[in-house]
């Protein structure tokens, strides 16, 4: 592969990454919508926002579903941040209700 081919290839792959990111963002927002719904319900029922058992299940489920090349621990770390933000979204939904 010569230099200009390589540069073209990098740019092609980066474009592909951008497309994937768009899908991830759409899916994260889809996930957040569910979190908002749950937050509203928790608000009505007076349930705590933090549900450690459920968080454990989510992480376990994610690890089990993960087929690589990212390993399970990496996927778990990524989802810890997603869960952190979901809690925050749920809290706001529970309050605004």
């Amino acid at each position: 592969m010569n230099r200009s081919d390589a540069e073209q290839e990098i740019s092609r792959i980066r474009d592909a990454i951008d497309r994937v990111d768009e899908v991830i963002v759409r899916l994260l927002n889809q996930r957040a919508k569910y979190a908002i719904e749950i937050g509203e319900i928790k608000g009505v029922l007076g349930l705590p926002i933090y549900a450690p058992e459920r968080e454990k299940d989510v992480l376990h489920h994610v690890e089990k579903t993960c087929e690589g090349p990212l390993d399970a621990a990496t996927m778990r770390r990524l989802f810890e941040r997603i869960i952190d933000e979901s809690r925050s979204v749920e809290r706001r939904a529970a309050k605004e209700r």
Binding site: I49, Y50, P52, A73, R76, E80, I83, D84, R87, R91
Partner: protein, 337 residues
Amino acid sequence: MVIVMEKHTAEGNIERVMSELIARGYDVHRSTGSEQTVLGVVGDVAKLDTREFELYDGVQEVVRISEPYKLVGRTFKREKTIVRAHGVEIGGTEVIIMAGPCTIENEQQVFETARRVARAGARVLRGGAYKPRTSPYAFQGMGVEGLKLLRAAADENHMATVSEVMEISQIEGMLPYVDILQVGARNMQNFNLLTALGQARTPVLLKRGMSATIQEWLLAAEYIMNGGNYDVILCERGIRTFETYTRNTLDISAIPVIDKLSHLPIIADPSHAVGRRDKVMPLARAIVAAGADGVLIEVHNDPEKAVCDGPQSLDPDQFARLMDELRIIVPAVGRRL
């Protein structure tokens, strides 16, 4: 705020800490490592007592990242505050020298001292009317009559005035005569007084308590600003150390530290720090060289006969010589006098 959990602590311990934080309305960013978990706490953590969470099982350390103060900090306001008092700007490019006697004793003493220090370049006239004396038998001050003399002597020489307020009931009576209300080191944590001064719209000069940390000092200033009075000048005046040769140790390093942490003007008082006339001049030079916005200095027209703090007061000739020296130093630190 960051909470570091102990290595290999039980999941239940982490959950207990998280539950408590989340129940109190904080967002938690959990980061699970291979051995250790770290919890980032997001929200208004100024109200949190770190010790409370250090007591939880499985917690190794609680680290505060943000400062407990807000209004006094550079994060709140990046540019330096300039306090304006009777036409004098403290915190600008000019280094402001505040000079005068420890205590107002009589008309002749105040007018004579004012004339001499003004001629040498002082912009603010200091003088105590209410004195916090270590002994109840020592001279307690002239009160309002003294303040009238201070005002008249300052007006005659186009100076602003600074005088110490000891208690809330004195504030109103002082306002007609005093341009800057000084809070002494002993009152730095008199929170009722600070709150009352927060309601005033007159600049406050807040001295550092003799055993106060910089953080405690800034929190004291926060009390005043929290009431809406944003014109606060901080004044370093020496702290208690193991050294007995000097009365207090002037913490020169507080000057650049405050300048980094806070937008408020910082000045220093070498007279009370050392308590000896022969050490006042070198310290005053160091204060200006360190970048202070001003110097508060005791000058008496006849120190040998002073009712109070004579040994630490300069006479007018010594003061004039000091001013000449300071004029050589100020350009080196990008200021003027």
